[in-house]
Amino acid sequence: MPKMNMVQAINLALREELQRDKDVIILGEDVGLDGGVFRVTEGLLKQFGPERVVDTPLAESGIVGAAIGMAAYGLKPVAEIQFMGFIYPALDQIFSHAARIRSRSRGRYTCPLVVRTPYGAGIKPPELHSESAEALFCHMPGIKVVIPATPYTAKGLLISSIRDPDPVVFLEATRLYRLIKEEVPEGEYTLPLGRARVVREGNEMTVIAWGSMLHRVLQAVKAVDAEVIDLMTLRPFDEETILRSVKKTGRVVIVHEAPKTCGFGAEISATVAEEAMLYLKAPILRVTGYDAVMPLAKLEEHFMPTVERIQRAFEEVMKY
């Protein structure tokens, strides 16, 4: 089986879905001839032509808005937003329309749309190229949110997202694009949305992460008996897997890159505090980015949770 990095795995998923289903089309800035600024869509224009791999004007709201119309008409558009910081102008289309077309039309129209965008820090880019704003989408009914942490899961989750009848925001950690290689099968396989993955079994604490932070967590847990959960889908999220683990371990540490306040860690913590309070041995800790604007290159590394900060949280919960 070929070893692939995440860029290759996502590219393969797109390629296979384009091939399988004529209703799948790709659109976005520089996705065609340029193959996307991260080369995720490399070669797709050549293989599928400009009708299916569409370079658009520089207009994020227009891109998502047009994709909503395409999806309602019967296509399965996969829109790329070049960096997550540039999805903000499309929030109105995502919140006011993509999320609501099904309920507004009582199922007459749907929005089988995927919005792919690179997120998170790690490549020392200019401002607004390192956002980790997943929680915003998790608050909005009608939207699904998927964040893969590995090439293998990226492919399976992206295929599921494309086939999903509802709008999915699919976030790809820039930091991971070329960081890890693993075996990724060619040909169809899917991973169900809404299910988490227990990456490592353990008994003394449950550590929950997604995307690039999963890898920091895996570095950090080496010396502790921790169960590690890769959440993969944030909305709807896999409460069952989390609660099962928490009931076993009694301790919870949640790690994310986004600022702490109202990050998705809050939702996980609140869910545990609501559903498994009696099993808890220790405070639920969140290790997160700071309540601050993501800085530029020189301070970038200081913003993200470090292995040390994560380990300090482990020590803290083990005090109980």
């Binding site: 808005g65 119309g69 296509l75 099904r102 309920s103 507004r104 007459r108 009914p141």
Partner: protein, 351 residues
Amino acid sequence: MSERIVNSCEVKWLDVLDEKGNIDESLMPPLSAGEIRKMYETLILARTFDQRALNLQREGRLGTYASILGQEASQVGSALAFDKADWIFPSFRESGVLITLGYPLPMIFQYWSGDERSLKAPADLNIFPISIPVGTHIPHAVGAGFAAKYKGDKIAAAAYFGDGGTSKGDFHEGFNIAGVFKVPVVFICQNNQWAISMPREKQTASKTIAQKAFAYGFEGVQVDGNDIFAVYKVTKDAVEKAKQGKGPTFIECFTYRVSHHTTADDATRYRQQEEVEAWKLKDPVLRLKLFMHKKGIWTEDYHKGVEEKAKAAIDDAVKKAEAVEPPDPRDMISFTYEKLTPRQMKEIRDF
């Protein structure tokens, strides 16, 4: 080295039928007497609907309602230019469009009473649910047109919006994308001179709204929106053009919102009654009536019959709308996704 003109644009105005009911034969679209009667009957139906909606609202039998009074020709005339296969993206002030396209009358009442089920268009109509956020549905029409072109379907998409809608970023992004990809779409602006309390001259400094199309490399035309023949003609041409693969057209229907913004609004706070009175003289229904009278296809009897039929249809629609069972509260949850999420499965047990 030079100072020279590298491009220029002209904005065309069209009217066919004047306030006295006279037409310019050379501009008149080919229409049979039957078709003209259909126009008149649809105008009357739309106006009857509108009056009834206003009354029902006053009686507390309907929620907030946005009147189309004065804009009937813009709406009916343009909507008649579309086929059932075309995709229509309305805003909230398009009852006349919906009625013309055959949207079930009871459902339009149901909508204004706050029931989402009314936005589920019948299967044979490609009418998108009403967009409440102004102008934001313009890119949807562009996307649908794009998709139709991609699939080889010979249809047109259309977005309806107001003069206020032209100030929104999505107007710009949608228009620009439509121009670049020569999408088969017709943009129809109901310039009714007001956006709530904002008069047209303060909404934008451009002399016409139609000229905004020049920025996107396609044609914009201003049409007398109280002249049903002119509106029909330019829309028909735009629809044909779209279907022939010649790209988008922007139509500015120059008309007037004779009533308040909605039943929640009091227009006397911000505009002069003289202005309203002056526009009432340009009434689109009266104008068609005068024309038909001259042609001998309008009589008092004919008119009475039309009105009675309209009234009966509206009576029936109101009865049906009011007989509809209240919606199931679970509906508000169960249409969020194709399948309920685990959390929603718990939530729905509250009902």
